[in-house]
């Protein structure tokens, strides 16, 4: 059942969404560009947290799915021009989900380390294969020529975000969400309670896989020209992990409060100190592990708890 509190929240979110959706009309091209980046990361990071938050499995393969999605759009436009554009997004999502299924079936019944290692190299693996195929077929890269501008791309990402949030919310309030919380708490207990933890993890991993692929498909027209180095850039995977952990994976809204500050800081650093972004990424990782292991969500929840108990005492 949907409570009245939830209806109120939905109304608030609806109004906020409508406000955010007007960004392209503000006439600020710089902010629209940032908006596209933030919206794309918000979708990928939130879906990453839906899987990694409860399972504690760290996936480092966002770039692999993203690249597959970009190539879906590029190849689709090149070879099947009669297909409507939106079908390419659906195909990309399907491919991403199937890929995640295969990866999950190989690694997710084993301990987390295997999964981390496998996903760490997945983007590089697919990049090598795509490069090899391109050399073999004599093709260098692909042009993605559409009439889609930043504005359309931005709206598509907003739509993707809404979809991710709805999926996350539905999972949370379903039996699956309860099972996930048990797994996150203690996998042994979960198994004894009759939860199919391996199967659940595989299914759940399909969500970030599909979302990252769709994100790649949406963003492809912006690149105009696609080649493996660009589509499978490993940096993307690490950025997604950092933002998710910075925000905190315990709550659905954690992704967003990690993405916004990180993107803003990142853009500023990338402009003023372009050679130090790797160092920044490393330092960000260390700061999160040592000082804010539960992310901003953890800090905020702590603060709220303290305020509430303080209020009761006073």
């Amino acid at each position: 059942m949907i409570s009245s509190g939830e209806i109120r929240n939905f109304l608030i979110y609806g109004v906020l969404l409508a406000l955010v959706a007007t960004l392209p009309f503000w006439g600020q091209d710089y902010w629209l560009t940032i908006g596209v980046t933030i919206a794309s990361f918000a979708a990928m990071v939130t879906s990453w947290s839906i899987f990694s938050g409860p399972t504690h499995y760290i996936s480092l393969s966002t770039a692999a799915f993203f690249g597959v999605g970009s190539y879906t759009t590029a190849l689709g436009i090149e070879y099947f021009p009669e297909l409507p554009y939106w079908t390419l997004l659906v195909i990309a999502g399907g491919l991403g989900a199937v890929m995640a299924l295969l990866v999950g079936l190989t690694t997710l019944r084993l301990s987390g380390v295997y999964f981390v290692i496998f996903t760490l190299g997945l983007a590089e693996l697919i990049r090598q294969v795509v490069t090899w195929l391109q050399n073999w077929s004599g093709q260098k890269g692909l042009y993605v020529l559409t009439d889609l501008g930043d504005r359309e791309i931005y709206w598509q990402f907003l739509g993707l975000c809404v979809l991710v949030y709805i999926v996350g919310w539905l999972i949370q309030r379903s039996k699956v969400g309860l099972a996930l919380r048990v797994i996150g708490d203690d996998e042994e207990v979960a198994k004894h309670a009759g939860i199919h933890s391996a199967r659940l993890k595989v299914l759940l991993f399909m969500i970030p896989g599909a979302v990252a692929a769709v994100a790649g498909a949406i963003l492809a027209p912006r690149y105009i020209y696609i080649e493996p180095m660009l589509a499978f850039t490993p940096l993307l995977s690490f950025q997604v992990v950092i933002m998710a952990l910075l925000g905190g994976t315990g709550r659905l809204w954690g992704g967003l409060i990690g993405v916004i500050p990180f993107v803003l800081v990142w853009e500023a650093i990338a402009i003023s100190l372009p050679n130090q972004t790797t160092l920044l990424l490393g330092v960000a990782f260390l700061v999160i592990v040592y000082f804010i292991p539960k992310g901003f969500v953890g800090i905020l929840l702590d603060l709220r708890r303290r305020l509430m108990s303080g209020g009761r005492e006073g």
Partner: protein
């Protein structure tokens, strides 16, 4: 035949690097994702000594090994021990140590980028041909292989014949019971981490004599070393060496027959097969 010898030679140096990682993971329980950066740093040191003073990479090892030992010891004591103490379970330690060493890896790349920029560094050391069984091989590769083989043998003897090696193996097999028989877990973990790091850095210095490295090539080596460790079995010296030689041969085969750009794909193929059929490693016993 040529593929097999080149592969064995390459695998020999991989074995040394993976051995370093395996000691760090099997004994200190830290999955060190900054392993490849350490390797590149070792190579960078060898490169510097060679270009600055024509000091042979073999002599450089005498400096690289203790340097890496101290660096890794400090990293363990300052950065990783707090994580070990904080962790409530092995799983939690795994997640936080993966993230922390990942951060270290990026910091390492960032520092090296700041030092040398994005360019590749390579030097020519003993790059004259030597004939074995009718084919020519680079002398530097052969020397590196021999050095790696000697080091592997030393590590093996140390682990299996010395008293400290025995404590270390006890720690790897049963960390909880090791305490009962008087093994100082905290001290030994730090030492093992430092020794593993030193081994990897030495491997890096050797690899740099015949491969071109750049600051960001570390992650590829990390991946290969990880695949080798998993294939060979965590904490298993013998398995690591076999797996490394196998990977070396397969990589050389793929590079000569298909494309040099597909080496990681080859490593992954092996990895997937191992994950599907023998996730406990070549010589490991199945766990429940």
């Amino acid at each position: 035949m040529e593929v097999i010898i080149t592969g064995l030679v390459l695998g020999g140096t991989y074995a040394l690097v993976a051995l370093g990682l395996n000691i760090q993971y099997g004994i200190s329980r830290i999955m060190n994702l900054a392993n490849g950066e350490l390797l590149v740093a070792g190579g960078l040191a060898a490169f510097w000594f060679w270009t600055a003073g024509q000091i042979s990479p073999m002599l450089t090892l005498v400096i690289v090994a203790p340097g890496a030992f101290v660096l890794n010891y400090l990293i363990y004591v300052i950065m990783l021990r707090p994580l070990v103490r904080r962790a409530k379970s092995q799983g939690e330690l795994e997640v936080s140590s993966i993230l922390a060493t990942f951060g270290l890896a990026f910091v390492g790349v960032g520092i090296m980028l700041a030092l040398v920029g994005g360019q590749y560094f390579s030097y020519s050391y003993l790059s004259r041909p030597i004939e074995i069984l009718g084919s020519n091989y680079g002398l530097n590769r052969i020397i590196a292989f021999l050095a790696a083989a000697v080091m592997c043998a030393l590590v093996y003897l140390w682990l299996h014949k010395s008293r400290m090696g025995m404590s270390i193996r006890a720690l790897a097999v049963a960390p909880d019971s090791a305490v009962l028989v008087g093994v100082n877990v905290e001290r030994l973990s730090a030492l093992a981490f430092a020794i593993g790091g030193a081994i990897t850095a030495v491997g890096g210095a050797l690899i740099s004599t015949f491969l071109t490295l750049d600051p960001s090539s570390g992650v590829l080596f990390t991946l290969k070393a990880l695949v080798i460790v998993i294939m060979g079995g965590v904490g298993d010296t013998r398995g690591t060496i076999v797996a490394a030689l196998l990977l070396g041969i397969l990589e050389t085969f793929v590079a000569t027959v298909f494309d040099p750009g597909l080496t990681l794909a080859a490593a992954y193929l092996l990895f997937v097969l191992v994950l599907l059929f023998r996730p406990q490693g070549f010589f490991g016993k199945p766990t429940s």
